[in-house]
Symmetry: C2
Subunit: 356 residues, 2 copies
């Protein structure tokens, strides 16, 4: 292996959780990966150590100015015992695009993937195998130089933690109810919408809570300038089946370039289903609904893979999609992507990377 | 006193820095204030402890989703030895408005101010007295529940740290050069512009670095929707003297409601100088410049108090303001506000709060 990481084994391994009651992101494995960056020296001292608290100066940049980013991907164990990652180089590339926007130093993409592999290998026993479960991998970077004042940090930590997870939505593939947000804005042109940085998520909490209070699970965001183009859903990208075409927002700076989104588009194209990345107004969707042409809606993301949408609320318009049931395209995409991810289907796209 | 905080004295006090070479935000005093919040229990266990590292789970919300906020104010020591805070209740109120936007629990405003007073009292020897220096006070809140998933944290820490500071701009009251940003956006309607949350600052780093590379010290932001209304400057609010009127952006959600801004407006009104909070386009300013009516520009903020602007660059238009020199209104505002803050002038506005 090109990269050498020092390894300190955890002398007190924890009891593994019951796969039947796994939730999302509340349990962590025995180890974590840490690497430091110092201006002038670069990234150095990559190491695997027991999972445990970080000790940071209270003036660390991350606490005040949120110079931080994260990624998310999953490891699955196939029925024949192989450990599979799904398109991890795309997470590495997205990391560097986020880093560029946040003035965080670039990371070697091979190193990023090798660090994930090394850590997953050590904690491979933590990968649950029950349907819908996985080992969620969370690489993240925090700026930890201690000073007050708005400028880029000269010191960072790149950390990877692992969490055995159950399904993101407790109901599984049950269709969700979404609220079209017309008061709050997640991202706008010239902002950080396409970066996976903490600030975007903090900004979204309030709208999410107000939607929950109204009885909706998630938000469908509209663009910040015109408040009419549909963008994305919570932590996933949005797809609409209108007539015989699947449409999704284009990557023009305000939405996260989802890896699941990219995979959905590739699979649709391969299957010969019409798919378009184009700006779509919420009014077009309401009109399609009235005309009986709004057939399906679903969201795509690492956490839930494909999440069907059963109801979409925009102002006074309550749209029940496909009778509130999962549609055929969403089901087929879920089966295909989840099948490839877990090694049940042949990986004819070359998307999985085995941890050996 | 209504609030009781436990106090653990630092057994190893540090050497105080040389007031002549003080910079901004790089040195910290011997103590800090910490208070915890637990859902169901509320804020509890306010305590003053030796300044030192925080120990946090790597899955703490603040590292991933930037649920965090901060405030900033200063303590001065007057010539007759009194320790003065400047309008600290306004910081407490702004904290709660920020908290509301970020889904962080509210803090009792008296408690907020009493905690600052108790900490400043213990480290009062750290307040430098040289012209332009002060003790900078940084209250901040971080979400530290350990889980992955986008929802509000159930656990927080409210922390106050203190830093003896020199002038924010090393040159002191020397006029700065600003670049009018037309590519990046700091905040937009429906976003978090009026909240003092980390994400806003992380998002601004890139634009700031590009402006530095072009030879400008700071950015003048334009609004995110039309890209034409002037908003604010770096970490301060912007004022323009056009003809005989002083104009500044209104508080309509996208700019931070600066406490210095509020004080500037009050003083101008008191002195009978015309001041307007109104949306102003950059084109109006360029036109005023061409007509010889753009007399002065300055920025207002806790760090620099009043910072005159000598040059403003918008696309190809290079505006040299007041011959690149500090103007009479900026000078008078600086003298008045700084005079009140440091107890040199009588506080006829009732703005200072003494730490006894
Ligand atoms: C805002 C947002 N949009 C979309 C996605 C989907 O991206 P991916 O498919 O890479 O998980 C995510 C992350 O998971 C996200 O946080
Ligand atoms: C974005 C921004 N605008 C304006 C200000 C000025 O506010 P104040 O006068 O309360 O310091 C600050 C903070 O200091 C700020 O961060």
């Amino acid at each position: 292996m090109k990269y050498e990481f020092s390894i300190t084994k955890n002398p007190n391994p924890k009891k593994k959780p019951d796969p039947d009651t796994l939730r999302f992101g509340t349990e962590f494995t025995d180890h974590m990966f840490i690497m430091d960056y110092q201006e002038g020296e670069g990234w150095h001292d990559g190491r695997i150590v027991p999972y445990g608290p970080l000790s940071l100066d209270p003036a660390a940049v991350v606490f005040h100015y949120a110079q931080e980013m994260f990624e998310g991907l999953k490891a699955y164990k196939s029925e024949d015992g192989r450990v599979l990652l799904f398109r991890p180089y795309m997470n590495a590339q997205r990391t560097n695009r986020t880093n560029d926007r946040l003035c965080i130093p670039q990371i070697d993409e091979d190193l990023f993937v090798e660090a994930i592999k090394a850590l997953v290998k050590i904690d491979a026993d933590w990968i649950p195998q029950k349907e819908g479960t996985a080992l969620y991998i969370r690489p993240f970077i925090i700026a930890d130089e201690a000073f007050l004042g708005v400028r880029r940090s000269n010191h960072y930590k790149f950390i990877i933690i692992l969490s055995p997870v159950g399904p993101y939505y407790v109901g599984g593939l049950t269709p969700t109810k979404l609220y079209v947000e017309d008061k709050y804005v997640r991202a706008t042109d010239g902002g950080t919408g396409e970066a996976k940085c903490g600030g975007n998520y903090a900004a979204s909490l309030k709208a999410q809570e107000e939607a929950h209070a109204k009885g909706y699970e998630q938000i469908l965001w509209l663009d910040g300038v015109h408040r009419k183009y549909v963008e994305e859903v919570g932590t996933s990208n949005a797809f609409f089946v209108i007539g015989d075409e699947v449409v999704t927002a284009p990557l023009d700076g305000t939405i996260l370039p989802g890896i699941t989104r990219n995979s959905v588009i590739a699979i649709l194209k391969k299957k010969g289903i019409k798919v378009a990345e184009r700006k779509t107004t919420i009014d077009e969707i309401v009109q399609a609904y009235k005309d009986g042409k709004f057939k399906e809606m679903f969201a795509s993301g690492t956490a839930a893979v494909i999440s069907p949408v059963g109801e979409l609320r925009y102002k006074d318009e309550d749209m029940i999609i496909n009778n509130g049931e999962i549609g055929p395209i969403a089901q087929e995409l879920y089966d295909t992507i989840y099948g490839i991810q877990t090694g049940k289907l042949p990986d004819d796209m070359g998307w999985t990377v085995e941890v050996k």
